[in-house]
Symmetry: C2
Subunit: 161 residues, 2 copies
């Protein structure tokens, strides 16, 4: 991927707060909205979810997930030109004993301070989406297949907050 | 569902142009962006897709799909309060000979005039997502399980354009 595309990917991942999570429900695709916080190197996408949520029930049974992050739609543009990344990977719980727990919690709460209260609830937990591959559409006709290394390369191009 | 929630659902479906389509790829969830046009009664969601697209390859093998439509994110709000609808259903091609073809094409092109050129391309076709059930989150803690009849009821509450 060229530098301009890596910058676009970094802007997309760092700039969006919500994504569409795909899980398996009775063997069929189920898509729900999630709020996410990426790790600094974009090799993880953290979510904080209740065990009662449909998607949590789904991925606790089968950890294979899809994640779509899409540039915000603007009515002036052809939606086919919107940047978006489709991530394929798996999801796993981040337990309080895990090395990454404190950082993950910090990154998540920095993005979603309103979620602090849910960290006190017993049915909520942090989960980490681990990308295995991605398909990045930077714009019309500009499509890239990505590895987790490409995500890491893109993370270098994040603008300082 | 109460009238206020039906109005919210109508606003969501009529107001958004893009959604996240969940398909099965090698048995795992795959989520990609699609531009959609709902039928007048919200019992169908039309997309125009290339046979070369990953999602088309997927749903031509297994027609079970998920569709998520989410209210536009605004940084001032807690994303958990955003309205969204998760649709579960199946997808089928709408052929030129089908009774609904002319209307579907018209609805789609009214929303996406830039797509007119792709209607001339051999690998593109119209497809119809047929909702079987839905899960509507109208806001924090306001969740409804919907049938296709609820979609139809909601469509009555669409504001005139």
């Amino acid at each position: 991927m060229d530098i301009a595309s890596l910058e676009k990917l970094a802007h997309l991942i760092a700039g969006q707060r919500i994504g569409a999570l795909g899980t398996l429900r009775e063997g069929a695709p189920f898509v729900s909205m999630i709020a996410f916080a990426p790790s600094r190197d974009f090799s993880r996408f953290y979510i904080h979810a209740s065990r009662l949520a449909y998607h949590t029930q789904d991925f606790l049974k089968d950890p294979r997930v899809g994640l779509l992050i899409t540039e915000s739609d603007r009515s002036a543009v052809d939606p086919q030109t919107l940047a978006r990344i489709t991530v394929r990977g798996s999801i796993a719980a981040v337990s309080e004993g895990d090395a990454e727990y404190a950082t993950a919690r910090e990154l998540y709460l920095k993005r979603f301070p309103d979620s602090a209260m849910t960290f006190g609830l017993g049915d909520f937990a942090l989960y980490s989406i681990r990308p295995e591959s991605g398909r990045f559409v930077a714009g019309f006709g500009q499509t890239f297949t990505c590895t987790v290394e490409d995500f890491k390369r893109a993370s270098v191009h994040t603008l300082p907050e």
